[in-house]
Amino acid sequence: MSEGSDDGLPADAPLGSAVVRMMLGAQLRRLREGAGLSPEAAGYQIRASRSKISRMETGRVGFKERDVADLLQLYGVTDARVLTSMLELASQANAQDWWAKFGDVLPDWFEPYLGLEAAASLIRTFDLQFVNGLFQTEAYARSVASIGLRGAGAAEVDRRVGVRIRRQELLTGARAPRVWSIIDEAALRRAVGGPEVMRGQLRHLAEIARLPNVTLQVAPFRIGGHDAAGGAFTVLRFAEPDVPDVVYIEQLTGAMYLEKRADVDHYLDVSNRLGARSLNPAASMRFFSEVLREL
């Protein structure tokens, strides 16, 4: 699921929804196969062709919620939680993503991330250079956006900051995911935007850490080298049992989306070791104050 994997999608489809469609499609295929049904038989149920089922299962077309409900019934899915979560996915797959109107300032490799992030039940991050976008203050986000955009106009920086701030509504929304984030001390010491901006950012982190669904842990310099040698990454987990975790790694000119079990296992292992070695949440809170004082 890297760049270019979206071939076959209508050009005007928001990519975020596309990723959700792929997830939903993969799950529908597993359920159909589990029920021992052919694509023809499934198509008959919703008055559609074999190829329509195939396009649905590869996430290349939108889903009518009614069709999804009918298929789930045909496949013998009765667990209310699975039904609800699949229908929720179907509704997200069709929704006009809020970020669609920011298309001009969003790199095409980042948009799928927004779709996955919005659908995740657990977000695990490791951050090294910068404070994670989900936790950035507006001033900090503005400094980061300006660094990456030497020569960009103020309007463009504004729009980039706007996306970032809008994204953060996820943390407190009705379907807020659990977020478990590990921050390297380096990201706390690097005074992006200057000491004043950084002080605000550190205070904000302490506030974020109080959210009931957020766990922040600091990986202090004194633990020495650690397993996340390659840098920042995010692991997204979805409530649906059959949908695999996705690892997201951002680079300067693109991003990688890793879904293969061996890759995901490796990043989970690194996250787990970091989680065990880093400061616990209470000690991390004290650490924020410590860095704040020394700034």
């Binding site: 657990l122 659990r178 478990w180 009931p212 766990t215 842990q217 202090p220 004194r222 633990i223 020495g224 987990r237 049992p241 695999p244 975790d245 079990r261 061996a262 296992d265 989970l268 292992d269 787990n272 070791r273 989680g275 065990a276 070695r277 880093s278 400061l279 616990n280 949440p281 000690a283 991390s284």
Partner: protein, 269 residues
């Protein structure tokens, strides 16, 4: 520096190339916190004994029924949960706090990574408390000392040891471990235990256990008899119906599968 304040600088001995009981259990429950070695071991056990899947689900259902009983019928508000495992749906504090939000739960596990998950993901209601103790079940002194920071040990406590004493060898005296914990809590406290048994469905259980044990590291699953398990309760008074096949304990529905495990709860008077 201890792992407890998080500055755990000691090298981690967490080996992902051999099966780990918490991660195998996670796989059986449909979780995603497991690795290739765990999945392979878990599948091997399923092939030998397909009832392992309804078995682990039945144990989670037993946890739910037991905690509900303790909160609703016995008025318990403090829990000491030994062998936390990886977080799943309806963990002890969630079941307890759904009924009594002020409930206080101390989770104990000897594995730093399991504990990091618990600390990050098993968080309390604002009214209650959850805390996490990094200790081996055998180290009852450390468990009690750290639990006392969150629990009032002069008030009744429910000690939970679900599918955990089966990993404690006879040489480490599992009965003495729970005995020491129960000695430290007052009358009105409860002990709840579930474990796999060799009394039920022996052939398949033995084959499944052998397959698991050859794929795990130092930790090994030990199958015990009902009599051996009954001994863990010492002189405590069993809550009806006593130590019974796990699905039968306060059953809400007729069990559809043969589950090779016993479960019981007893009260200190």
């Amino acid at each position: 520096m201890s792992i407890q304040d998080g500055t755990g600088v000691e090298p981690l001995s967490f080996d992902t190339s051999v099966a780990h009981p918490a991660r195998v259990y996670d796989y059986w429950l449909g979780g995603k916190d497991n690795y290739e070695a765990d999945r392979e071991a878990a599948e091997q056990v399923i092939a030998a004994n397909p009832n392992v899947l309804p078995g682990v689900r039945a144990n989670r259902a037993f946890l739910r029924r037991a905690v509900k009983y303790l909160v609703q019928e016995a008025g318990i508000r403090q829990f000491l949960d030994i062998g936390t495992g990886l977080p799943t749906a309806e963990n002890t504090h969630e079941v307890a706090q759904a009924v009594a939000p002020e409930s206080r739960i101390v989770y104990v596990d000897n594995d730093p990574i399991v504990l990091a998950h618990a600390r990050a993901l098993l968080t309390s209601t604002p009214e209650g408390a959850t805390a996490y103790v990094h200790a081996d079940a055998r180290d009852t002194e450390k468990i009690l000392q750290e639990a006392a920071e969150v629990l009032d040990l002069s008030q009744p406590v429910a000690v939970m040891a679900l599918m955990v004493l089966q990993y404690v060898p006879d040489a480490a005296h599992p009965g003495q471990i729970v005995g020491a914990l129960m000695d430290a809590v007052p009358a009105g406290s409860y002990l709840t235990i579930s474990d796999t048994t060799r009394d039920i469905d022996l052939e398949r259980v033995t084959e499944g256990t052998n397959r698991l044990n050859t794929r795990m590291g130092a930790t090994q699953l030990i199958l015990r008899t009902r009599d051996e398990m009954a001994g863990f309760f010492g002189h405590l008074d069993f809550v009806d119906p006593g130590l019974v096949p796990l699905p039968q304990w306060h059953a809400e529905a007729d069990p559809a599968h043969i589950i090779p495990a016993y479960a019981g709860m007893a009260r200190k008077s």
